[in-house]
Amino acid sequence: MTRSTRESFLARLHKPLGRPSTIINIPDPPEVDESIARLVAKDADLFAIFCDKAAATGMTIHQVTEQTLHESITARLREENVNTLSVCMADSQAMTHAVAQAGMQVQDWKALPGKAGLDRQFELDAGITDVHAAIAETGSLIYQSDAEHSRGMSLIVPWHIAIVKKSQIMADLIDFWNDRSSLDAQGMPASIAIITGPSKTADIEGVLITGVHGPAMVDVFVVEDQ
């Protein structure tokens, strides 16, 4: 079988488009008219809207200050009898210390490379992460992969605990994507996850069940930092 190439594949498109080769100059695509598509204004009470919408998705919201954050998290971990967990944050030292002090076993997710590291993530009771942004419109968390952020920690663990700073809350999905649209392909994070609630399904007779493949519980600690 002769295989399609980029050229032969594109040629298949040129025929129905009615041109001999790929068009070089095209009109600008339609603008995203914000008077239609924007659902939350930039100057709205983003904190209140985010907490409200995030809670509606089934995530548990805790409003804390920088002073009460560690204490609130360890209390919540004890409540759920957590034994092992990992911390996945841009600056994880203080949190790791606080959780270890409270008697929980903190696993270093970076210590084991490749497959072994992934396997370890499957055995954890919980994962604590910060986020890269949050969206008031939908109550979503935005979590990107990078050197300090494992994909598994907001996905493989049965319980995802996310820390959102109040200043990270953006009004609308539009704002987040406008913000990211100047990056080139290499500059884009390899993985951006927009997370909106615990894992859900309604495949069996439409009955809503939380916790299928992803985390069954998501706790969000919103920190007043302004």
Binding site: R3, P29, D33, S140, A147, R180, A185, I192, T196
Partner: protein, 514 residues
């Protein structure tokens, strides 16, 4: 094409009764051509699960969509659909430009882009990747295009165990069944059949509790993600200006399939393109709202290349297979609009015909109103003559469509193409000729009405002369010819001896006489 998992046509349930499987698994979507829809549609109307559950579930989701979209978009709902439709149309009009841009950007990000003219080539590419990695186990998330290519069959045929991980698709795979809805694939099945399939195939104790069943599936599949050599996904969107692929799921299986195994292969139809990241929110805002009336899917995963060298986890290789498989046929100017579809399933939920006949009646991968127009273009109109007629042309699908595909317009166009200006049955030609004649002048229209009235009254065994025209009406149980299908399921009320126009004329005369 038979599924190697199941050989017998009969299968034993836990209670010992046997259930007949009329057709095996994936073959349901690939019937003998030319396809005759009538038998399956008829069976569906006698299927209680389908009539009760599919009907109520689709109505509920349709209502959720309407309420939710009106709530958030208000008067802008229509403009929002217009905006999304115009972005998709622009992209399709310049699809060569955007595909080239996508290839350049994805390649720069480290993705390997492949090109598949048809289903065979797409699967062959995937099989080569599997061979290269000596893959034994593949986990895959929900993807309609892999249904088109029958990928699972081809992988299993060469000994690669391939597991569907979307809960609904997993159940269908275990029970040797096929999806019947774009978003809720096992809408035609009940919990008892899931319980029986789990007991039979997984050796667990029978339960029909959805929560317990879900937990069983979770336990089984969690190990599979860890062991899998390759993760396969579809793609909801491709973004040209960054070379990114987007998948939207609620369960998390899509994100697991694209994050845990060392190799990720995405099967994506070329029509899934959007120009830029700035356009993505428009579609994310509409997709889940149109599908199930929720603001957004739980997980939207935007992937740009494989894992970077400094990252600890993520796939080391990312392959994207760009798939034509008939799409360039649809890309012709006269049908291009059909490719705007973002597979939300809103047209299925809103369709009074889909609700009654279910997805399998359409005899193809894409059911419902969108399937009724896409399938004949994909697979030849002569092979799917019934599909353009599987609609009442009520327009509910057009109103529900988030990208404003004028489905009724295309149904009518396909009907026109089918008859080529001429009906094939003599009786139909006479019938439509007379109909056309009767509609041309007021008096002929009236005459036809009178004839029909007399005919139906005689059919009902009623006198055509009756002192009180509105009493002693009764029902017409059966009508021959084109209306036979209508009276098969319900009776027709017998017309009165005096029609409204006669009454009106007399009434006006009386008034004038006073």
């Amino acid at each position: 094409m038979s599924n190697p998992r199941k050989l017998s046509q009969e299968t034993e349930t836990v209670s010992g009764e046997s259930v007949e499987l009329t057709m095996a698994g994936h073959d349901i979507l690939f019937p003998k051509l030319p396809y005759d829809m009538k038998q399956r549609a008829k069976d569906a109307t006698h299927n209680d699960q389908l009539q009760e559950f599919v009907n109520s579930a689709t109505r509920m989701r349709d209502q959720l969509r309407i309420n939710h979209c009106n709530d958030v978009f208000g008067d802008n709902y229509d403009k929002m659909r217009e905006l999304a439709g115009s972005i998709k149309q622009h992209t399709l009009d310049h699809l060569d430009y955007y595909i080239e841009q996508f290839i350049d950007n994805a390649t720069a990000a480290g993705t390997v882009v492949h090109y598949a003219a048809d289903d065979k080539e797409a699967n062959a590419i995937c099989l080569e990747i599997a061979k290269l990695h000596s893959a034994k186990l593949v986990v895959k998330s929900k993807s309609m295009v892999t249904e088109e290519t029958n990928l699972v069959h081809d992988l299993e045929a060469v000994g690669v165990e391939t597991i569907e991980t979307d809960l609904g698709e997993y159940i269908l795979q275990l029970d040797n069944d096929a999806p019947s809805h774009l978003v809720t694939p096992m809408i035609h099945k009940n919990r008892a059949s899931v319980g029986r399939a789990f007991a039979r195939e997984l050796g667990v104790e029978y339960t029909d509790d959805p929560k317990e069943l879900t937990q069983i599936a979770r336990r089984v599949l969690r190990d599979k993600y860890r062991q899998a050599d390759i993760g396969i996904s579809g793609g909801n969107f491709m973004i040209a200006d960054s070379g990114s692929t987007v998948i939207c799921t609620n369960e998390g299986n899509g994100r697991l399939c694209t994050s845990v195994p060392p190799v990720h292969v995405a099967f994506i139809g070329i029509e899934k393109m959007i120009p830029s990241r700035k356009h993505l929110p428009v579609f994310l805002k509409l997709l889940s709202r149109s599908a199930i009336g929720s603001p957004i899917t739980v997980y939207n995963h935007i992937m740009t290349g494989p894992k970077r060298s400094h990252e600890a986890d993520g796939p080391q290789e990312q392959h994207i297979i760009l798939i034509d498989n008939g799409r360039t046929e649809v890309l012709k100017p006269e049908t291009r609009e059909m490719l705007r579809c973002i597979r939300c399933g809103a047209c299925l939920n809103s369709c009074p015909v889909y609700r009654k006949v279910g997805g399998h009646s359409y005899g193809s991968v894409y059911p419902g109103p969108i399937g009724a127009i896409l399938t004949p273009v994909f697979k030849g109109l002569a092979n799917y003559k019934d599909l353009p007629y599987a609609s009442s042309l009520c327009g509910a699908c057009y109103e529900a469509c988030p990208v404003k595909i004028n489905i009724p317009k295309y149904l009518i166009k396909l009907r026109g193409d089918l008859i080529g200006g001429k009906h094939d049955k003599f009786i139909d030609r006479i019938f439509f000729k007379m109909w056309a004649m009767s509609l041309k002048k007021a008096w002929t229209y009236r005459m036809a009405g009178k004839f029909a009235g007399v005919f139906l009254r005689l059919r009902a065994g009623k006198s055509i002369k009756n002192k009180d025209p509105y009493l002693n009406r009764g029902w017409v149980k059966k009508v021959p010819g084109p209306a036979a299908g209508w009276t098969e399921k319900r009776d027709l009320v017998t017309p009165p001896t005096k029609d409204f126009r006669s009454w009106w004329d007399e009434h006006q005369k009386q008034k004038g006489g006073k």
